[in-house]
């Protein structure tokens, strides 16, 4: 249930994420030393256009990637048909984008709680 378009989308999104994941992992390993606090996180990210772009791209890519991934699994393991799969792919994509964008906005919007 993956034609070449969906396949390419999933692989391209994975390629986009590759450097972002490295960055994300590195930041987390660095940041977690000494525990996490909201202030610490927000202090780093709030008002930063760079971080917004970084995580914004990440969110879009991961939404595409995971939606297609879930579609494949739903087909092979749950036996969902073509129509149900399209619905599922779109819902997964939209939910992830919506929640992801909200989260990115929350941590990078200028002038927040700190």
């Amino acid at each position: 249930m993956l034609d070449i378009r969906l396949y390419l989308l999933q692989r391209l999104s994975a390629l986009v994420m590759a450097p972002l994941v490295i960055g994300h992992l590195a930041v987390m390993i660095y940041a977690i030393q000494g525990g996490l606090s909201a202030a610490e996180i927000l202090g780093r990210t709030q008002g930063s256009f760079a971080w917004a772009t970084f995580y914004g791209t990440f969110v879009i890519a991961v939404s595409v990637h995971a939606a297609i991934g879930l579609r494949v699994i739903a087909h092979e393991w749950l036996g969902l048909g073509a129509r149900a799969l399209s619905v599922l792919t779109w819902i997964a994509f939209l939910v992830l984008v919506w929640m992801g964008v909200r989260a990115v906005w929350a941590v990078t919007a200028p002038g927040g709680v700190a």
Binding site: M1, L2, H75, E76, W77
Partner: protein, 242 residues
Amino acid sequence: MSSTDTRMKVSVWRGDHEGGEFQIFDVPAQDSQTVLDVVAWIQQNDDPTLSYRFACRVGMCGSCAMMVNGQPRWTCRTHVKKVLKDNCIEIGPLRNLPVIKDLAADMDPFFEKWVKAEGVFHPSKTRNDQIEEIDPASVQRVKADAGIECINCSVCYASCDTVAGNPDFLGPAALNRAWTLYNDSRDAGSRKILDAVSGAGGCHNCHSMGSCAHFCPNGLNPMDAIAGLKRATAAAFFRRRT
């Protein structure tokens, strides 16, 4: 193992497309005995209604594949010693195909997909032309040769979980054939082949789980072939856009 009176427990799947169950037989063990010999012994000496399929008995026709202890194998070339566990063997019909009866599977879906993948030579010449000169060491030829000796036994098809989960997936053997033809300099259908393997059941569904290559009795590597198709289709996709 001597040919005297050692016996083994052989559990054989009996039934048809509606379902079935394993039945246990007591079979004399012999030197030089293949799994196919065991099945034939049961039919000829114990239960005349047991159904199975074979033809060449030397690993050339790919008719005799079955699940042996849960793994797909060509039974005419599987020595009993290789699969006997605690003096037991379990034999069932090939996975991922409809069962006709007992150990005989219906291979039609396998071959329908073979044709659907355009696994059929597309001629560029006729019988009135000379035979093309081809350097056997050329890169393309070496690639085509790697997958050419497939005996369409469906062992790879039976081992693949993607086939199990995705009924439209063309499967490793058909895609391996498509890749072989794609690399055949005499074949005039590369475009057709790429289109045929780019659809909803095409090569892009393969997860490179490698069971096909692991079990292929001829040591072919359909996983490699499919990766090749993925590259070729992707390249063609972007080439056509630009």
